[in-house]
Amino acid sequence: MLRLDSITKIFGGLTALEEVSFSVAAGSITGVIGPNGAGKTTLFNIVTGLYAQTSGEVVLDGKNISFLDTEKLASLGLVRTFQNVELFGQMTVLENVMVGLHTGTKSGIFSCAFRLPRQIKEEKFIREKSMEWLEFTGMTDMAGVAAANLPFGKGRLLEISRALAANPKMILMDEPAAGLNSRETVELASLILKIKETGITVVLVEHDMDLVMDICDPIVVLNLGKKLAQGSPREIQENQEVISAYLGSD
């Protein structure tokens, strides 16, 4: 469904990614792991159009999306969450999720200012749909809270809820478990599985190995910008190169 074709990214003199290629199958939870600085976030930034790669191609459903603008990708069904949670802090939880429905809706400045009938209907739809997603992630009781006042774990959850509201085909999550306690991590794992069940493909960057090994298949390992290995959790755990890369960096 998503195919990365020898992606290279060079920042000034630093090669953050070198000839990385792999594919993500529809309906999978694909894990991307690697030590700090391996280039995982850079990879997401390239796929979501925030960075332009130095060379290589990103293909989504047979369509070359390498040079599409970030804002286009959401409407193609590709969304993400951020490693350093990027919420709309001044807005409520509900409003955050409502922004997720931006792509699915159309009212422009004029119809919003004059509250044309179509816009009123659409607004109602946005609100109801958003409440449904909050229910899906179990955040209904926090709908009215300002996002900036959420505890950290809930912030991560809200980012996922907002991404889901965009009705994506694929969601990229950048370290969703970072900063969560163990109970929250378990809940996150079951949420990710639940998301997969709805037919959404997940790509998961994560340092929490238990989580990755539990729910991801396949797993791609990056180290120092290069793809080191790819395979099932079992294969990865037994891969000598992967083990030494992790031991070396620890």
Binding site: T48, L50, D69, T70, E71, K72, L73, A74, S75, V79, R80, F82, E86, L87, F88, G89, Q90, M91, E95, M98, V99, G100, L101, H102, T103, T105, S107, G108, I109, C112, A113, F114, R115, Q119, E122, E123, I126, R162, A163, A166
Partner: protein
């Protein structure tokens, strides 16, 4: 639903108060001042959409105000054109200019955007001053006709008050609608995290230009009204100083609050009228207000009022509790 109802009631009360005010005011001087409060409210709302909602600063908004005023002033004094048509034309021109410069200017962020809009404002101010044959230069342009609809001529305070305040209320209503919609949320999303907004499919680049354009159109509309109400315009009203005054109105009233824009406009318009000493001290007071507000009440007076009412409500609730326990 109750929230929506509450908002409608608040607006109706506000509108009723605004429209009935002249009946209670014996003093026609006060009515004149309130006319300017109305015009400044429109301007502050225009800037607030850009600054308070989308989080994009402009230090050159007086230029769009001036553009509206000058286009209306020049065309209606020189040619036998319908002033209302000219008003639409003026708004259109300001919007077109904003749209064109909006693309390169809104690519800039933060401090750079501030400097660029400031530069734009000063260039326009120089143009107003130096194209003497068209604008009348520093000594201004006089003899701008009053507006009229059939036999009704807006040549006295009473009529102008209603002309301006019906316009103000309309702009307020449209702005409130806009801010509470999909577009309003997208604007605030850009303000809080532009990357996240873009990832969620908000075309930040275009939306910023659009709201800049809307904001320019609103400012130009206020400019046209101003020109016809005052019948005399000069560049001094449209310079950097006024851009800063507008900024102060928005910050004092409350970034991201439409009623806050009214509050800010009202305070900054009335202060110099009633405190004579204020005349020479105005920029000191603006400076202090900007600093103090930004430091201690970043949400503006509107947030201050909210805090106070919440505090009072909490105290009442507590007292009730104590009663119940006793």
């Amino acid at each position: 639903m109750t929230e929506k109802k509450r908002q409608i009631i608040v607006f109706l009360i506000f509108a009723a108060a605004a429209l009935s005010a002249p009946f209670f005011l014996k003093d026609s001087y006060l009515i004149t001042v309130l006319i300017f409060v109305g015009i400044n409210t429109i301007l502050a709302i225009g800037l607030n959409l850009l600054l308070g909602y989308a989080g994009q600063i402009s230090l050159g908004h007086a230029a769009f105000f001036g553009l509206g005023a000058y286009i209306s002033g020049i065309l209606t004094t020189r040619f036998p054109l319908d002033p209302f048509l000219v008003m639409i034309l003026a708004a259109f021109c300001a919007g077109a200019l904003a749209f064109v410069i909006g693309f390169p200017i809104l690519k800039l962020k933060g401090h750079y955007l501030a400097m660029a809009t400031l530069g734009f404002g000063i260039i326009m101010y120089i143009v107003f001053n130096e194209t003497v044959s068209v604008t009348g230069g520093p000594s201004g342009l006089s003899g701008i006709p009053y507006l009229s609809v059939g036999p009704l001529v807006f040549d006295n305070d009473w009529n102008n008050y209603y002309l301006v305040w019906i316009s103000t209320l309309a702009v307020m209503l449209l702005a409130i609608n806009l801010t509470q919609s999909r577009i309003g949320r997208a604007l605030r999303a850009i303000h809080d995290s532009e990357v996240a907004a873009r990832v969620m499919g908000v075309n930040a680049r275009i939306l910023k230009v659009q709201i800049f354009t809307v904001s320019a159109v609103i400012s130009a509309f206020a400019g046209s009204l101003y020109a016809h109400v005052v019948t005399f315009i000069a560049p001094a009203s449209f310079g950097f100083h006024f851009s800063v005054e507008l900024l102060t109105m928005v910050v004092v009233g409350g970034l991201g609050s439409i009623y806050g824009s009214f509050l800010g406009a009202a305070i900054l318009t009335m202060l110099p009228e009633f405190l004579r000493v204020f005349h020479d001290l105005d920029i000191i007071v603006y400076g202090l207000m900007l600093i103090l507000m930004t430091m201690f009440m970043p949400g503006g007076l509107v947030s201050g009022i909210q805090m106070v009412t919440q505090y009072i409500a909490a105290r009442k609730a507590k007292r009730k509790d104590e009663h119940a326990q006793a």
